[in-house]
Symmetry: C2
Subunit: 218 residues, 2 copies
């Protein structure tokens, strides 16, 4: 199947389709119309058809979508048909939370190693993975076919660690540090800036109150 | 100042402006042109001007933006000029990570209480906050002026806890459970679906490889 250039907005919606289709599949649903999927996901049926058209459609008019086929195809597009090895840098609470999250493994993301600059943490474990000192990071990446590094360290250290990661030829950084990283093209970065998300929530609280009281022209 | 209806895309960019302006302010920078801000943030100057025009502009043509004024105004728009009290439901690693994150406090988000259905955790502490049993949640919310509940529990429990939260009249839910919540209008929900973010990264890794090898028509 030929693929067109797809906008990040569409890509951002694919995991959610994948999640819903996975649940339908687990419930034994074989086919679903875009209208039913629309009701379930609370997006318009036209949005769904438009999104799926980016990948060749997946459906026959009037017959609905084959759930398992669609689930597998979206999985392939998302690169979930292969294994990704990842390490976590930063063995604090957040790093440990991510290391313990078994759901990642079910999607093919395998937790291989954990690093921290605090020598007191060396040797402590998260599941069956031992925390290693930062000096061993480069060697470990090279020897263990690591393609994703998860950054759960404060922003002060994140920039220099990212530079070291770039040198190793890592493919992707999943960045939880509260700073934007500059990396060469070809290295993928996905940021999870938790404070930003909380501020967006705070904006919407304020806006919701203004709507209720009729203040402003919102 | 009158406010127009602002798209969630613009709202989503405001925290990042706020973050960069905060850093400029801390460095003692008083004024900045949209061109310099553009170079720093790697978005176009025209995007910046367009975004700020949603809020009346903030700048005088040719003089650039007053950093501190802009920082404060965006802070007000984001609702950061007031205090928000939050509780965390789920005292696992992720809940503890969020409870320990002091940066939230600096933005006016105050961590007040933590709840878990595991009785073994009752009484354990995260900073100076004790974990309480779930039965006490409603009373605690009512007595402590809580406006945000952070959900860091597995998706199986999240829907019913969200229903209980709705009954309390909570203003907002910051949802880390891997499920979409249905809540009445007027209650704000911000989802952080970590698996979705990881899948997006996986897509971009695969796409990056196809670009390198020239495979497909990407």
């Amino acid at each position: 199947m030929e693929e067109k250039e797809i906008s990040q907005a569409v890509i951002g919606r694919l995991p959610r389709y994948f999640r819903y289709l996975g649940e339908l599949k687990d419930q034994g649903v074989e086919r679903i119309s875009s209208r039913d999927l629309s009701g379930l996901m609370k997006v318009t049926a036209s949005q769904i058809r438009q999104d799926f058209n980016n990948f060749g459609g997946f459906g026959q008019q009037g017959y609905g979508y084959n759930v398992e086929y669609l689930y597998n195809e979206i999985g392939k597009i998302l690169g979930l048909d292969r294994q990704h090895n990842f390490i976590i840098i930063g063995a604090g609470n957040l790093g440990r939370a991510l290391g313990n999250y078994l759901n990642f493994e079910r999607r093919g993301f395998i937790f291989r190693g954990m690093f921290d600059c605090n020598p007191d943490l060396a040797g402590t474990k998260v599941r069956d993975v031992s925390v290693m000192p930062m000096e061993e990071m480069e060697r470990f990446i090279a020897e263990n076919d690591i393609d994703i590094a998860v950054l759960t360290i404060p922003k002060t250290g994140a920039v220099s660690v990212a530079e070291r990661l770039v040198q190793t030829g890592i493919r992707a950084i999943w960045n939880f540090a509260h700073v934007d990283l500059n990396v060469p093209e070809g290295i993928q970065v996905e940021n999870v800036h938790l404070s930003d998300s909380l501020m967006k929530l705070s904006y919407n609280i304020r806006r919701g109150e203004k709507l209720e009281t009729g203040e402003g022209s919102l």
